[in-house]
């Protein structure tokens, strides 16, 4: 059992904030398979396609039969903790500032011997449950958890390093007018967020969800992501206490290029969906990057809500999907820039949501509550990619199978002449 994490006290402005440092990031190409699976919350290791031997550390040839065919397969997580130590000193700054640090050797039930981080609730020389997470360097690491769930397990300092849990953290949700805003705010509140700032453009213009938001207890902040000055002004005001930024501002209209007479809507889509993200990043990013090691309520994650059309164009919303591809590409650039500080970029992909502008599409659609739940779960797990709803998962799987086939599937024009 872990002691529950208490709300951090007000910071002493004279004390030095811990500088952002990271565990080692260097990995071989083979080892990135662990990271790729951990990025979406899965535990996978190499399993030889020829002789079915599990192996670890990652190799370029099977240790049993020398085959090169080594796919990453979901791994049975049971094992036994054989030995452990608590590192008290390390030449690496990241660990030097976080010792004592508990690590150990696990014998997994299916074979491989694995060096792991150990959760404090694990009993010495006992059964463990293996999980994979991304560390502050953005690389996949393996963690020994107790075989049964224990209370407040995610409050342990180790798990706070490996996740982006909103508990006690201050969150900025960029668009109060988005259909998902009340559900998102409610879910954040329930997850223990300390403050929920919510961006509100043109505050003189009424909208129905405002009362619900007020009731949840959000703090309304003037913000228009298409206005650089507005973004900079708000960053000046709350940038120093934004721990999680969730960009839910989105402009969407149906149609591809030919369905529209001019580029007006497309400009709006790019202005909100692509440049909006860039304005937010330029204004909030540097400050958040400096605060990634700042105690329990440190800056920890940047969340983009993206439409699955970012992966492969969905012609009914062809121009909008292009803006999503642009936003997705920018998110990867941000991920690379933020990673040096240990700030995580989480992309939440969904299919059509239950909203006015997707009304013409058939179900299934993603409900605001489902989307909000997936965002929270993603933050609590500390993943990089979340696939919300059946359509997003379906497109993801097809994309991974064959992007060209997916393109054809999505762009069938019906039986023409």
């Amino acid at each position: 059992m872990t002691d529950p994490l208490l709300a951090p006290p007000k910071k002493n402005p004279q004390r030095r904030s811990t500088s952002p440092t990271r565990p080692p990031e260097m990995r071989s190409r083979a080892a990135l398979g662990l990271t790729a699976a951990a990025a979406e919350g899965r535990l996978a290791l190499q399993c030889c396609a020829e002789c079915a031997t599990w192996q670890y550390p990652p190799r370029d040839a099977c240790v049993a039969c020398l085959s090169n065919d080594l796919p990453w397969v979901d791994f049975p997580p049971q094992g036994q903790l054989l030995a452990e130590t608590t590192v008290q000193t390390s030449p690496r700054l990241y660990y030097r500032e976080r010792v004592p640090w508990r690590i150990g050797t696990v014998k997994t039930d299916v074979g491989p011997i694995i060096l792991v981080h150990i959760h404090p609730d694990v009993t010495p020389q006992s059964a463990i449950h293996l999980t994979a997470h991304l560390d502050r360097a953005g690389q996949g690491v393996l963690v020994a958890m107790p075989p049964q769930e224990t209370s407040n397990a995610m409050d342990a300092p180790l798990m706070r390093e490996l996740t982006a849990d909103p508990k006690h953290r201050r969150v900025l949700l960029t668009d109060a007018r988005a259909e998902n805003a009340p559900a998102m705010a409610k879910a954040l509140k329930d997850a223990g967020a300390a403050i929920i700032f919510i961006g509100e453009s043109e505050s003189w213009r009424p909208y129905t969800a405002r009362a619900a938001l007020q009731e949840i207890g959000v703090e309304f902040m003037p913000l228009d992501v298409t206005d650089t000055l507005s973004v900079q002004t708000l960053a000046g005001e709350i940038g120093g206490k934004t721990d999680i930024l969730i960009n839910n501002a989105q402009f969407v209209r149906p149609g591809g290029a030919l369905a529209r007479g001019d580029v007006g809507f497309a400009q709006n889509e790019m202005d909100v969906n692509y440049f909006g993200m860039m304005r937010l990043a330029q204004a909030f990013g540097p400050g958040m990057c400096k605060r990634t090691a700042d105690e329990a309520n440190s800056a920890v994650a940047w969340v983009n809500l993206l439409h699955i059309g970012a992966l492969a164009n969905t012609p009914e919303y062809g121009a909008f999907a292009a803006s999503q591809s642009a936003a997705h590409s920018l998110s990867q650039s941000l991920r690379s820039e933020f990673r040096t500080a240990g700030l995580r970029v989480m992309n939440v992909f969904s299919g059509p949501t239950e909203s006015d502008w997707f009304a013409s599409l058939p179900p299934p659609k993603v409900l605001p509550q489902s989307l909000a739940r997936d965002v929270i779960k993603g933050l609590q797990a500390g993943v990089e990619d979340v696939w919300s709803g059946d359509i997003a998962k379906d497109v993801r799987d097809r994309f991974r199978r064959d992007p060209k086939v997916l393109e054809r599937e999505l762009t069938f024009g019906g039986d023409g002449p």
Partner: protein
């Protein structure tokens, strides 16, 4: 499959043991330290470097050079050249190869040298590029380096065999006693068992005095034919047996034994003696748990009886089981790859009567064991060598 018995090392001798003083930090390079040790060996027996025709190097900090670059750097022209990057097993492995080269006539005089520098930041940098498995699967976890790896092995050994910290302490304290008689040793203050037990923890159960002190320095010796040594009229030791093994017992979940167990029968058969006939033993002592493992795996005692063995024996120079007489790496310091040579060079001094302050009386037969390269979760290389007095100084 039955193994062919290895040919005897008949005629192969070791001479000219030389150790540079060790230095905690150095602004000089590995090239500097290796040159110093090589010169020391050659000068001690009155040879010129152009009389060398074989050269073997072990070093971690020569980058971007290897043995080849050193030939031009040091002005050596050899017909046999070797690079042995096997850490704590380097001396045994280098010697085995050099011995066969001398026997076969591929070289007449081979210099085996190991050395490294230690800049302020070199240890940290060495860690970050040590091995691919370490980079992928061990250092991201707490970045404790070898301290953490050996802490896990020590934890497991203690649980399995009931060893206590006091047992490990006996090894460290007796080596410190030995080091006080070696002016080259970095550690020159007495260590008590109480100080050992109260030292600050580094990675439990490993505490400060279980860890070696990284430093700069080099070790060297020459390998040649007995006829050559007699002709030069210099003291020498005979090589009677040598084994090496890599990545043994891969299916053991944790390392409680090393590759010596696969080859020790060969070793004692070649040496024509038993563990009881050894006058002085030099083990690889980074960390003390590995010392116990070497006592067990070479047959000094049964598996799991390492703790009893150290309780029942006095490991100091004048004790009933003289061990790591120069103070070993624990007290003399670990000069990188030279840590793999320190035992061999000291053993050579012992059986040729050149050990001065650390001399074990009438030492005629020495066992030198090596252990190296924690690639991921265990040490992969093991070696062992038996030396006998040829001609004393």
């Amino acid at each position: 499959m039955t193994r062919r018995a290895p040919a005897s090392y008949n005629g192969v001798v070791l001479t000219a043991p030389f150790s540079t003083p060790y230095q905690r930090y150095s602004i000089d390079t590995a090239h500097h330290w290796i040159a110093r040790a090589l010169k020391g060996s050659l000068d001690s027996v009155g040879l010129k470097k152009n009389q060398l025709d074989g050269f073997s190097v072990s070093s971690f900090t020569l980058f971007p050079d290897s043995a080849v670059g050193l030939t031009q750097h040091l002005g050596l022209s050899t017909r046999w050249l070797d690079h042995v990057p096997m850490g704590g097993a380097s001396a045994g492995v280098a010697l085995r190869r050099a011995a066969r080269a001398v026997q076969a006539g591929d070289a007449d005089i081979v210099a085996c040298v190991a050395g490294d520098t230690n800049h302020i930041d070199s240890f940290r940098q060495l860690l970050s590029s040590f091995s691919r498995f370490a980079m992928d699967a061990s250092y991201p976890y707490g970045y404790g380096g070898p301290n953490a790896n050996f802490a896990l092995l020590t934890d497991h050994y203690m649980n399995e065999f009931g060893a206590t910290r006091t047992d490990f302490g006996r090894i460290c304290v007796s080596q410190r006693d030995n080091a006080l008689k070696n002016p080259r040793a970095v550690m020159q203050k007495q260590l008590t068992l109480d100080q050992y037990l109260k030292a600050r923890l580094i990675a439990d159960p490993i505490a400060l005095f279980d860890c070696v002190m990284p430093c700069a320095g080099a070790e060297s010796f020459l390998v040649m034919h007995e006829d050559k040594a007699l002709q030069l009229g210099i003291p020498f030791a005979r090589l009677t047996a040598a084994i090496e093994r890599h990545n043994a017992h891969a299916d053991d979940p944790m390392q409680l034994r090393g590759g010596w167990t696969l080859d020790r029968d060969t070793l004692w058969e070649m040496a024509g003696c038993t563990p009881l006939d050894i006058d002085v033993m030099q083990t690889y002592d980074d960390y003390p748990v590995i010392v116990m493992m070497q006592f067990e795996d070479l047959g000094m005692c049964e598996k799991g009886e390492g703790p009893t063995f150290v309780r029942d024996h006095d490991l100091t120079i004048n004790g009933n089981f003289p061990h790591n007489t120069s103070g070993g790496q624990l007290s003399a310091g670990q000069a990188g790859a030279a840590g793999g040579f320190i035992g061999m060079v000291e053993a050579l001094r012992q059986v040729t009567g050149q050990a001065s302050g650390t001399q074990v009386k009438d030492a005629a037969r020495a066992l030198v064991t090596g252990f190296g390269m924690i690639n991921y979760d265990r040490g992969l290389c093991t070696s062992a060598t038996v030396l006998e007095t040829g001609v004393r100084a």
